[in-house]
């Protein structure tokens, strides 16, 4: 990270030079800068309300008029935001496909390049319906590749690389998450692809980035969480560092990959320029660790593991509810008014005047006793009853949800978040859908995940004008496999 200059200095008045986690993705064209300290409370009120609030002059200020995307070209309003954007997707496993899933959700045409010679690992691991494995039956693959197309292309064959070059001519974006250097070795590095398509946007998503001393290191999601300090800081009070239950750095890299591609598409719309994006999975986790990293930098202390507790708010825990060892309810109290309301709801109004619990700081100090008192109330009742009675008093409470709870949840169903599309090999299975709603443009999953190679012929005939015979020949030569 030192060589990649990940930590960036900021001159903050009153504090001095701080080294802050820097850019989650490195852009070859878009500038990323820390150019102004954080504002003091109320610092700019005078400036903003006694002058012009915004700088309306300057080169890019009339971007709307100058961008080359002519307003009014989309009179139907029915198109998704990325309709017309084509992504040639070389990613596999998880982080990369999670990036292109977001782009497909936003309406991009995502064409996954795959091969049955070396299938995406997420096609090979369960869950499978009825425990029957099958390359098109894997739950992970079918979750992370909704709405995408698939072409079968064995990139170990020179003819396949030639076809890839032809496809790049028709692509706005190329995505990949191989180990650093693999795309170059295949002849598919950015410099080569840019010579084919000058305004191309390309993102490489690797474990440690394309530069720096660790570029060649092997990485996965869980080790990235260990290296970032996330395991160290997570755990029960007084206990050991904990593994965090999910491979968070993988989908997280996908989320930041999608953001970087959106930034590059915006940059291209405003300037006409394409660019290259170098993303390190490790760095995308560190941008979400400022509290701990800065605690060490500012005080020399490591963050304390505190389970479900908080450094300021109290009570703040996940409490046992009636039922088996999977039934729990989380409660977080953020103010004195909320604390008094909690005491009322629990039927323990006298606690509000108890000197041990008079302020948040005192409640923190006596937290173990307090948690026992609250548990004596929560453990006797259903987690949903606790949730409802606290929420009606305006208090933050919610059950700890399992995958079954979430699948059955009336709220997620009412929001059309859970989707069920007819898939040719696994039928109608519920998947997580799009985690946002847009009022003017559709947020719909267009299709279930593709069968491996399902769109080979369609893509090669429609984009490259290949004939049936040419395609048949390439199939026989095991280029399209």
């Amino acid at each position: 990270m030192r060589e990649r200059k990940f930590f960036v200095p900021l001159e903050q008045p009153g504090v001095g030079t701080m080294m802050l986690p820097g850019m989650p993705s490195k852009y070859s064209k878009t500038q990323w800068t820390l150019r102004r300290p954080a504002p003091r409370l109320n610092e700019h009120t005078g400036q903003i309300f006694h002058g012009e609030p915004w700088n309306l002059e300057g080169e890019y200020s009339q971007a709307d008029e100058n961008c080359g995307l002519i307003p009014g070209k989309d009179p139907t309003m029915a198109e998704a935001p990325l309709s017309g954007v084509r992504v040639l997707d070389f990613t596999w496993v998880w982080a990369g496909p999670y990036c292109t899933l977001q782009l497909a959700h936003l309406g991009a045409e995502v064409i996954r390049v795959e091969t049955s010679k070396r299938p995406c690992p997420s096609r090979l691991v369960g869950p499978f319906p009825d425990k029957q494995p099958g390359i098109n039956r894997a739950g992970y693959f079918n979750q992370y590749n909704q709405g995408k197309h698939s072409i079968a292309l064995d990139l170990s064959k020179p003819e396949a690389i030639e076809l890839a070059y032809e496809l790049v001519k028709h692509a706005d974006v190329v995505t990949e998450n191989f180990a650093a250097g693999v795309m170059d070795r295949l002849g598919l590095g950015y410099e080569k692809l840019r010579s084919i398509r000058p305004d191309l946007i390309m993102i490489s998503m690797s474990a440690f980035g394309q530069t720096g001393p660790f570029r060649g290191f092997i990485g996965y999601g869980p080790p990235a969480a260990a290296l970032s300090g996330l395991f160290f800081a997570t755990g029960y009070r007084g206990g050991d560092p904990c593994e965090i239950g999910i491979s968070y750095p993988d989908p997280n890299a996908g989320v930041f990959g999608a953001l970087a591609v959106m930034a590059a598409l915006t940059h291209r719309a405003l300037t006409g320029e394409g660019q290259y994006i170098d993303q390190s999975q490790w760095e995308t986790v560190l941008v979400e660790m400022p509290e701990g990293l800065l605690e060490y930098a500012m005080t020399g202390r490591e963050p304390e593991r505190m389970g479900n507790h908080d450094s300021i708010m109290s009570p703040h825990d996940c409490y046992k509810a009636a039922g088996d060892s999977e039934k729990w309810v989380s409660i977080a109290i953020g103010s004195e008014a909320e604390w008094r309301a909690l005491c009322q709801v629990m039927g323990k109004g006298e606690l509000a005047d108890d000197l041990r619990f008079k302020t948040a700081a005192l409640r923190k100090r006596n937290e173990s006793v307090l948690d026992e008192i609250i548990t004596s109330w929560t453990k006797e009742q259903d987690r949903w009853d606790t949730t409802r009675v606290l929420q009606s008093a305006g208090l933050a409470a919610f059950p700890s949800m399992s995958n079954k709870d979430l699948t059955d949840d009336p709220h997620l169903r009412a929001r059309d978040y859970l989707i069920q599309l007819e898939h040719p090999e696994v039928g109608r299975r519920i998947h997580a859908g799009i985690p946002w709603k847009m009022s003017e443009t559709p947020s719909r999953v267009k299709a279930p995940a593709p069968l491996l190679g399902a769109d080979t012929e369609k893509v090669l005939t429609s984009l490259l004008n290949l004939t049936r015979d040419e395609i048949e020949h390439l199939r026989k030569a095991e280029v399209l496999i």
Binding site: A38, H44, N308, S330, I430
Partner: protein, 338 residues
């Protein structure tokens, strides 16, 4: 700032309001690319000003590390959106703004002048991006929430810590504000998508981001485990593959982890081909997942003879994906890579 070259993103003028991490992070991600951001705080200041960390551990609302990280590159004003005067300030800013990004709770939006539909009607070119725990409609839309309850609502905490042997300990929230960071990162992405749409159509729109939904989609052991195989995933389950555990070295902790069979074979070599490694219990990664605890017990002595850094380096040389359990100091200094 005035001396800096303006970037294409300086065309995007953003108003941010609300409290805490999610909206501030979303706006920060765009501010760092050059967008102009004006942050509206309540008269008492943003909550993150009180959270620290602080230099020398002395609380000072102008020196909170978290606040500074989230709000560098922004200008700041104060407006109380519960008062007409404050809402007037908001609307003055929105006159020429492209984006409003906020995380005011759905139940409070109308009173604060932040009703999405009303804002879009008044400002047809404006993009209104709102972040909340559960989204702006649906049975739980008006539920109150903080990072903790969102983390349990998303299903993440239920799975953590993985393969826990302690059913009496509760599902565990991950460190920090990960739900809020996800809300912010998704918000920035979708805001740019709406901006691209506006460049084509000339029209703004409103965006509704639910942190619960963002994170529920990110969990590997979520919906499909139930809807494909009927499995109720849990923190109390077994490892799917192994080895997969945290263990002690002589001077710290290491994450012992292999995914592919060839990585395991090279690990066995590195361990000096112990006899137990060829037992049926460890025949493939799934069997090793089932017998992860036995594996850990058998490897303990060998692991305890190493320094973390040396083991990490020797493993990486053989393309075995171990990792140091870095402290914050370790992550900052790259001690593990010295």
């Amino acid at each position: 700032m005035e001396n800096q070259a303006r970037t294409p993103f300086s065309a995007i003028r953003i108003v941010e309001c609300g409290e805490g991490v999610s909206a501030a992070f979303g706006a920060k991600l765009l501010a760092d690319l050059g967008a102009e951001v004006i942050k509206i705080e309540s008269p008492s200041g943003d909550l993150t000003r009180q959270r620290g960390p602080f230099p020398g551990n002395v609380p000072d609302s102008e020196k909170s590390g978290l606040f500074i990280y989230l709000n560098a590159n922004k200008r700041g004003i104060v407006a109380d959106l519960e008062l007409a005067e404050g809402r007037e300030r908001l609307h003055t800013l929105l006159e020429h703004a492209d984006v409003l990004i906020h995380n005011v709770a759905p139940s409070e939006r109308v009173a604060c002048g932040l009703d999405s539909a009303a804002l879009c009607a008044t400002h047809p070119k404006l993009i209104v991006t709102s972040i909340s725990m559960f989204g702006e409609y649906g049975p739980y839309a008006n539920y109150r929430g903080y990072e903790l309850t969102a983390s349990h609502a998303s299903g993440w905490a239920f799975l953590s810590p993985g393969a826990s042997p302690y059913p009496e300990l509760p599902p565990l929230k991950c460190y920090g504000h990960q739900l809020d960071f996800q809300g912010g990162a998704h918000a920035a992405t979708v805001t740019l998508a709406a901006y691209l749409h506006r460049l084509k159509s000339g029209r703004g729109q409103s965006i509704d981001i639910s942190e619960q939904e963002c994170v529920a989609a990110m969990l590997e052991q979520n919906f499909v485990h139930y809807t494909y195989s009927g499995q109720q995933a849990s923190r109390l389950g077994q490892r799917l593959i192994g080895p997969w555990f945290i263990a002690d070295c002589a001077d710290g902790k290491i994450f012992v982890f292999t995914v592919e069979e060839d990585q395991w074979k090279r690990l066995v070599e590195l361990m000096g081909d112990p006899e137990w490694a060829s037992e049926d219990l460890f025949r493939d990664r799934f069997a090793r997942g089932q017998n992860n605890d036995a594996l850990k017990a058998l490897m303990t002595d060998w692991l305890s003879q190493w320094n973390v850094q040396n083991l990490y380096k020797e493993a990486q040389k053989r393309r075995i994906p171990f990792a140091a359990i870095n402290t914050m100091g370790g992550a900052l200094s790259e001690r593990t890579f010295a």
